[in-house]
Symmetry: C2
Subunit: 152 residues, 2 copies
């Protein structure tokens, strides 16, 4: 009986104390992978928009095409229940996402629309690219402000 109690206590303790890590759910690394690719392209375009990188029409168009394709990747299997920052370490996905899924999806839709707009103009000169880049940045920011935790 003593051994059984000990095992039960250990088991209970394990259940309560065991932290859940992001790597336990591949969807977290997968969606973070998508954001890394956003950064890959957004960073180049942002650098050109801000004058830190010389504007290059071909490179700008390539990065805008990339953003367009990336935003076509469906999100439905990347945000499973239980992968919020209150449940799992290693993610900045605020639980508010799952309380406001319609709004979250709408905000991603705004990014899709903005990326499509940017794709139309990115190779047409710095001013045109800047005008198309603005709404992309705004749609990123709107979603981050609502649903991304502060960096720890």
């Amino acid at each position: 009986m003593k051994f059984r109690s000990f095992v039960c206590i250990i088991a209970l303790g394990t259940t309560i104390a065991l932290p859940t890590f992001a790597q336990d759910n591949p969807a977290i690394g997968q969606r973070q992978g998508q954001f890394k690719l956003f950064v890959h392209n957004f960073g180049l375009l942002g650098g050109m928009a801000q004058g830190r990188i010389d504007y290059d029409a071909d490179m700008a168009q390539l990065a805008a095409d990339n953003l367009f394709y990336l935003t076509r990747h469906d999100q439905s299997r990347l945000w499973p229940e239980g992968t919020d920052s209150a449940s799992v370490s290693g993610t900045r996905a605020n639980p508010a996402i799952w309380e406001n899924l319609d709004d979250f999806v709408a905000k991603f839709g705004a990014l899709q629309t903005a990326a499509e707009g940017l794709q139309q103009v990115a190779g047409g000169g710095l001013d045109a690219m800047r005008a198309g880049f603005g709404p992309v940045g705004q749609s990123c920011q709107a979603c981050h402000e609502a649903y991304r935790d502060e960096a720890s």
Copy 2:
């Protein structure tokens, strides 16, 4: 003089001994992000092809569309020189990639073609999806055998 020599030795030692990690070059995490998204979709389709997951025409089409879009993401800025597994820890990208860039690009082109073929048939029944899935798997494998290190 003694202090200067000491500083020089420390500086030299630091240069030689400091390991280079994958996180020092964002392109590595970014391209790994793309592979994670490949797995996200390839895993579902492979599960259906092998009968481990029930075939669902809508889900299969969604995953195939995702693979199509992902394979349109340009690779030119994701494989900078010096990000091979002999130079950097945390990557399985064999140095042979950079010695055979034309072949590496051609192998990615084969994946693009196969993904386009899969997209045409993925929602058209299990047999059609399987037929389209085969060439995708083969193109992945051909590149991995040539250019990906064994898992450590």
